[in-house]
């Protein structure tokens, strides 16, 4: 009897800590997984946070599955909350969202244009302390407001919002038209370095496409216009209709904490090329035989570009050595570029065009905007013995005077599935 009593006494002692409950235990169906967070400036020096929460999948498997009709199910639930910081926004939103909001599966952090121009460091600095916030989310800068952007997330082909985000933001899918590394970690690390220009993916909402009112212009009567290169567009001005009403094209460049401008897709490709983060992409060039036509080449980097810094007190000279190679994949010209003399012509023309475009972007970012997007600062830092000297140098003020030299070579490797151009039978003469 005594032993029984003693055993019974032990039970509440052991169970006492357990009685208070398992504090952190949270079932998956109790959670609301935020997929995207958007920030816009708010009315009184605060911010408007827009959240896109993934809708849980309905349990069709258990019920034996009866498919719903043709109506599109909503796969994200979007709401906005005005607050001074992200944690306050989450707390306020918890009052009307039944499940517990959590950021652990978030994929995207969207900065609205006006906020970007005002300065994003307060927002980033506050968000990075949050224990649920992950440094691997992608940062996107939108033209216009972030909440419009998030409301426009309506994938047409995917039922799974996670799949859409991950595929859309995968640099292997999208090619080099957006910066290769646009994660929060890269963004804030670049921002914390002196003189560096952080870059993010540029995107825009397309309300015209959503409403079905996008029209691509009809055939132009002017037959003399040269073919435009689509890569010279920004996000938001892509000439298209249909599909998801969101564009990801180009990049946004920051000087310190303020956004200073946009880059077109082509400029972004050049930036990736100089940074050494080039994903295999299709590039359009002017056809050397006919200025009005374009040709497409699948480019890839032969090896990583070399960047050499020469510092002479305050004068800095950067030399880039870039080696690219490509396959000719599309050409309108009647010239057979696989013949050696034409190949040489093509390569020279491509190199010239590349050089032209890279100097334009270097001028634009370094001389005009005074921001260093190419991690030149890292190499300049190597020339100082201690950190104190480096910080005393004030790299940002010296970017404008930095000179650069470009050494770009291109080599054509393959020519696609066709050797010579396809020629109409009547126009062909066999010599």
């Amino acid at each position: 009897m005594r032993r029984f009593l003693r055993a019974m006494l032990a039970l509440p002692m052991v169970g006492l800590p357990l009685l208070s409950g398992c504090w952190d235990r949270l079932d998956p169906e109790n959670m609301a997984f935020i997929m995207a967070v958007g920030v816009d400036p708010g009315p009184s020096s605060n911010f408007i946070y827009t959240f896109a929460v993934a809708m849980p999948k309905s349990s069709n498997a258990a019920a034996g599955g009866d498919s719903s009709g043709g109506s599109q199910e909503q796969i994200v639930d979007v709401f906005s909350q005005e607050a001074s910081n992200l944690t306050a926004a989450l707390m306020a939103s918890q009052s009307y969202v039944a499940r517990r909001l959590t950021l652990i599966h978030s994929k995207v952090f969207v900065l609205g244009e006006s906020l970007a121009r005002k300065g994003v460091m307060p927002v980033l600095g506050e968000v990075v302390r949050n224990d649920e916030f992950r440094r691997t989310v992608n940062v996107i800068t939108t033209k216009g407001r972030a909440d419009t952007f998030i409301h426009s997330i309506k994938p047409t082909m995917e039922k799974d919002i996670n799949l859409w985000f991950e595929l859309e933001l995968d640099p292997h899918n999208i090619g080099a038209v957006t910066p290769h590394h646009s994660r929060f970690h890269d963004f804030i690390v670049d921002m914390e370095q002196p003189g560096t220009g952080a870059t993010t993916i540029l995107s825009a909402a397309r309300p015209d496409i959503e409403r079905g009112k996008a029209r691509i212009a009809d055939e132009d009567s002017d037959k003399k216009a040269s073919q435009p290169i689509e890569g010279d567009q920004y996000a938001g001005t892509l000439h298209r209709s249909g599909e998801t009403p969101i564009d990801f094209f180009g990049s946004a460049v920051y000087r310190g904490e303020r956004m200073v401008g946009f880059l077109t897709a082509y400029e972004t490709i050049m930036m990736n090329m100089l940074r050494g983060e080039f994903e295999k992409t299709t590039l359009e060039f002017r056809d050397p035989s006919d200025e009005k036509l374009t040709l497409s080449i699948i480019m890839s980097a032969q090896k990583k570009p070399d960047m050499d810094i020469k510092r002479n007190k305050d004068e800095i000279e950067v030399s880039f050595k870039v080696r690219m190679e490509g396959d000719l994949i599309g050409s309108f010209s009647k010239l057979d570029y696989t013949l050696p003399q034409n190949q040489k012509k093509l390569e020279t023309s491509v190199e010239e065009q590349l050089r032209d475009r890279t100097s334009k972007i270097l001028d634009k970012t370094m001389h005009q905007w005074s921001t260093d997007c190419f991690h030149i600062g890292n190499h300049v830092r190597a020339t100082f013995p201690t950190l104190q000297d480096w910080y005393a140098f004030k790299w940002r003020d010296h970017i404008k005077e930095t000179k650069y030299r470009l050494d770009i070579r291109f080599q054509m490797r393959r020519h696609g599935d066709q050797v010579g151009p396809a020629v109409e039978g009547d126009k062909m003469n066999l010599k």
Binding site: D131, R183, H185, N378, T386, Q388
Partner: protein
């Protein structure tokens, strides 16, 4: 007292785990704070000073009667009064390590992994396995360490490689001298307390079967732990370059959160948490065992086991002492790690010197 023997591998693993468990605490950040981009130089200098502890312990044990541990040898060489004072200093050292690391690790668990669980539940939940493992004795600790050491070092290497693949900042280590050459060098000397946990060898060496196995165990331990501590600081600076490096709370944890490789391998920090939790618990068990062994050898008790439960209670009580996470990190950085090398290098060296003088005098007499 039971004098069970342990092998070379177990000894080296115990030492390794005891030393490298600190990489899961904010030590890389404190190195980056004081050294800037030259934090790795500080780690390197600290590693170079590590053999001093080993040589002085070996010297002390040589000059005392065979089979005695560091505590008994200190008392033998210095005499009862002074020896007990030095042993009390050793005891304080091990005890401080134990309760501070317990507190810091519980803070890490409380802020990131289990946010709503009350702190004392976490600490008690950690203390129970710590006490059980320490109670099981040094052989059991050795066997467990041997199985766990490989796992821990492998997970550290995987995290580092994953981090490098995610973000690699070129030239992150330059400017070379970081915050200044003299500061880096002097701080390197001070921070040799990073390896002051080598003192545990004072308990391990007498348990090895042969004296010839001592150097092998010691050098394995020193090289692997020096390598691990160095490589984590080194890679940390590449993945989180200088200004960011001084702002993160727990570097290795943030590194593991950053690892992303394609669509499937991401958000795996809880997997690495497994090995780090094992490392922390085992280190604290070793620390608790060392404090208990010091105390029981000072009081000349035949067994270590009975002292462990009361000491565990004391550890719990003391780990609640710091008022906040910042205070705990402050105590660790400012007091333990600054003066730790005095305890781990200074006292054994003095003891060794005195032992040499004494044996020379004895040799002259006879």
């Amino acid at each position: 007292m039971n004098t069970h023997r342990i092998g070379v591998r177990e000894t080296a693993s115990i030492g390794i785990i005891f030393i490298i468990a600190k990489i899961f605490l904010p030590f890389q950040r404190s190195l980056a704070e004081i050294g800037g981009t030259a934090a790795w130089i500080i780690a390197l200098i600290a590693a170079m000073l590590c053999p001093l502890t080993w040589w002085s312990i070996r010297g002390v044990l040589r000059h005392a009667s065979g089979g005695s541990t560091l505590i008994e040898a200190t008392e033998e060489i210095w005499g009862p009064w002074l020896g007990t004072i030095w042993n009390l200093v050793y005891f304080t050292f091990f005890f401080t390590i134990t309760f501070l690391v317990l507190r810091e690790f519980s803070e890490l668990l409380a802020s990131d992994i289990l946010p709503r669980t009350p702190m004392n539940i976490i600490m008690i939940a950690m203390l129970i396995p710590i006490a059980v493992v320490a109670y099981a004795g040094l052989e059991a600790i050795g066997r467990f360490c041997w199985s766990a050491a490989g796992l821990i070092v492998a997970s550290v290497v995987i995290v580092l490689m994953g981090g490098l693949m995610t973000h690699f900042e070129p030239d992150a280590l330059l400017p070379f001298w970081g915050t200044g050459r003299s500061q880096v060098l002097s701080l390197g000397l001070v921070k040799s307390s990073l390896f002051s946990e080598m003192l545990v060898f004072g308990f391990l060496l007498p348990r090895l079967r042969k004296t010839s196995q001592w150097p092998k165990a010691a050098w394995w331990c020193m090289s692997v732990s020096a390598f691990t501590i160095f490589i984590t600081t080194f890679v940390y600076l590449f993945v989180f370059p200088y200004p960011t490096a001084i702002r993160l709370n727990v570097p290795m944890f943030e590194l593991s959160r950053l690892v992303i490789f394609g669509r499937w391998i991401q958000r795996l920090e809880s997997v690495f948490l497994i090995s780090w939790l094992i490392c922390a618990v085992v280190k604290l068990a070793i620390g608790l065992y060392c404090s208990a062994a010091t105390l029981s050898q000072m009081m000349k008790l035949p067994k270590v086991q009975p002292v462990i439960f009361p000491l565990a209670l004391l550890v719990y009580a003391c780990s609640i002492l710091p008022g906040s996470e910042m205070e705990a990190v402050l105590w660790d950085g400012q007091y333990l790690r600054t003066y730790g090398s005095l305890v781990s290098i200074g006292i054994p060296m003095l003891t060794w010197l005195l032992g040499m003088i004494k044996s020379k005098l004895k040799g002259q007499q006879t």
